[in-house]
Amino acid sequence: MLSIKNLHVKIDDKEILRGIDLKVKPGEVHAIMGPNGSGKSTLASVLAGNEMFEVSEGEVLFNGHDILDMAPEDRAREGLFLSFQYPVEIPGVSMVNFLRTSLNEIRKYRGQDPISASDFLKLMREKKKAG
């Protein structure tokens, strides 16, 4: 499902990842461990598509697609995204609005119709009960 081959990553000419290989099959759960500064977050950020980092070598395939050339939003729409350790709080963006925009973007990507504000609220209430 996810395959990382010989991944090298630089930030401002400083090499941080020096050849990572990793294969994740569907249904598997992996935990990556290591001391501070060993590049765990860098790996996660690169996979999510943070433009601060430069990939100098290697390839990453997700469901058979090369994702390194994709924009972060397209990776997310393909189903790969990063859960932030410290989620960014954006003053003025309400959670409902944010979630709905996000869902609609992904629906659009999949060729589905956008969901209306009232339907989305209904959906949210259902999910809340289920949880």
Partner: protein, 463 residues
């Protein structure tokens, strides 16, 4: 100081020459109360002229070149054949309001403001000057600095009409009063509109002024609005500006507040060419509260300059200011927040904040807090920020599948929201919220001359 040479449709004439030439026509159409100030205003104008950037208060907006060029002058009321209601559809049309129209600076003759509570008067200033001169005399020219500001002097020289609102003692007008300023002309046009808002003791009103251009000609607008808010009265004032790029508008709001009064102004510039707002609140009675807010959303080569002056003349008053701007392309902006705390004005609380978001390297903002504090027991704060979109927030949104354009809109909107949420009238806030979102999505493009204008450097038509 030399006054600008102005071409009034094909011939060179100075503005003061123009005034002298048309004085009898202007005065003939007007009444004694308004005519009484014209000589002094004329003298002041000859001394001051149109403010250039050498005048400190106009440092970032040189009005002189903008007030020269080929224009006709709106000296007589328009005789419109069509109904304004038929040719104009309002962007906030679902708002349940008392609506009146002003066409090219003149009170539209077929206005019928109905549903007014007893004693409330809304109408034409020229008419008021004829019918109730003693009322107008008490207020006319009392707040607007027509002897020290050239642009106000010019307005006072030429002004013939505009709207007035009079809310008597103890009356609350629940519905918002909406004034729609419409500009439409077959040729470039200059207007001088004069307005008056009077709220007597314990009264309350919400006034919304919408500025629109309906034809693509160049417009130069010089508006002056004087406001008098008496004891314990409450005025919410909104100005929504949505004009095309060939518009120059100078709008002055000069409001005086008495004891325990509450005034809130909100200047929302959605689209214009060059805009200059002079917002003056004089806190002249103890425990008066003044709030001034503003939002300007600029792109291409628009320019907006908000100049606010909060005058704490007596003790125990409160003022709060928040102006926010989003500037794209080559847009430029300016903000001045002048706060005067006079020697006796102890226990003053005054807050001010100006935040700007620059989306490109070419956008520019000049922001200037200007606090003059002559009392020693006061609490004043000011802050100004200029920044770019937060890359981390942008990345976060993108990792949730929201593309860059959509994320930009979401972030700009989030930035602007702080000003919008200050609007207390719920339906109005919703309307403006939608308008701002439309504006960010580019669905509210007022720039009829865009085809010729394009970007910077392609002509003066779109200044």
């Amino acid at each position: 100081m030399d006054n600008v040479i102005k071409n009034i449709i094909g011939r060179d004439v100075t503005l003061d020459g123009l005034f002298e030439e048309n004085r009898s026509l202007i005065e003939g159409n007007s009444s004694s109360v308004m005519n009484a100030l014209r000589s002094d205003a004329f003298e002041a104008f000859r001394r001051l002229g149109i403010p250039s950037n050498k005048v400190e208060d106009y440092k970032y907006t040189n009005l002189q070149p903008l007030f020269s060029g080929d224009y006709s002058l709106s000296l007589t009321p328009d005789t419109l054949v069509e109904n304004v209601e038929d040719i104009f559809s309002c962007d906030v049309d679902t708002l349940d309001s008392i609506t009146i129209f002003i066409v090219n600076g003149w009170y539209y003759a077929r206005n019928k403001p109905d549903g007014l509570p007893d004693g409330v008067r809304i109408g034409s200033l020229a008419q008021l000057a004829k019918e109730d001169p003693s009322f107008l005399e008490k207020y006319y020219g009392k707040n607007a600095p027509y002897l020290s500001d050239g642009i106000v002097a010019m307005n006072t020289m030429f002004a013939s009409d505009g709207f007035y609102i009079h809310i008597p003692r103890g009356v609350t007008v629940e519905k918002p009063i909406q004034i729609v300023n419409i500009l439409m002309s077959e040729e470039p046009l200059m207007t001088n509109q004069r307005n008056l808002i009077v709220l007597e003791e314990n009264s309350e009103a919400r006034v919304m002024v919408c500025d629109h251009t309906l034809t693509s000609d160049k417009f130069v607008i010089n508006n002056v609005t004087e406001g008098f808010v008496d004891r314990n009265a409450r005025l919410d004032f909104y100005n929504l500006q949505n004009q095309h790029n060939a518009t120059t508008q100078v709008a002055g709001f000069y409001i005086e507040q008495k004891e325990d009064s509450h005034v809130k102004t909100n200047n929302l510039t959605l689209h214009t060419g060059v805009g200059r707002n002079n917002i003056t609140l004089k806190l002249a009675g103890t425990h008066a509260e003044g709030h001034t807010y503003g939002l300007y959303l600029l792109d291409k080569n628009q320019h907006v300059d908000n100049f606010s002056f909060i005058d704490h003349a007596v003790p125990d008053c409160f003022s709060d200011e928040l102006f926010k701007g989003v500037l794209d392309d080559h847009a430029t902006g300016a903000f001045t927040g002048k706060i005067m705390v006079r020697p006796d004005a102890q226990k003053t609380n005054a807050y001010q904040s100006n935040n700007n978001l620059l989306l490109t390297k070419d956008a520019k903002i000049n922001t200037k807090p200007q606090l003059e504090i002559y009392a020693d027991d006061v609490k004043c704060s000011h802050g100004a920020t200029v920044g770019q979109l937060d890359e981390e927030a942008m990345f976060y949104l993108r990792t949730r599948g929201i593309n860059r354009e959509e994320a930009t809109i979401l972030l700009m909107y989030a930035f602007a929201y702080e000003v919008i949420e200050k609007i207390q009238v719920e339906p109005l806030r919703e309307q403006i919220r939608t308008l701002v979102e439309k504006r960010f999505r580019g669905e509210l493009d007022k720039c009829h001359s865009c085809v010729v204008c394009g970007q910077k450097g392609t002509g003066v038509s779109c200044m």
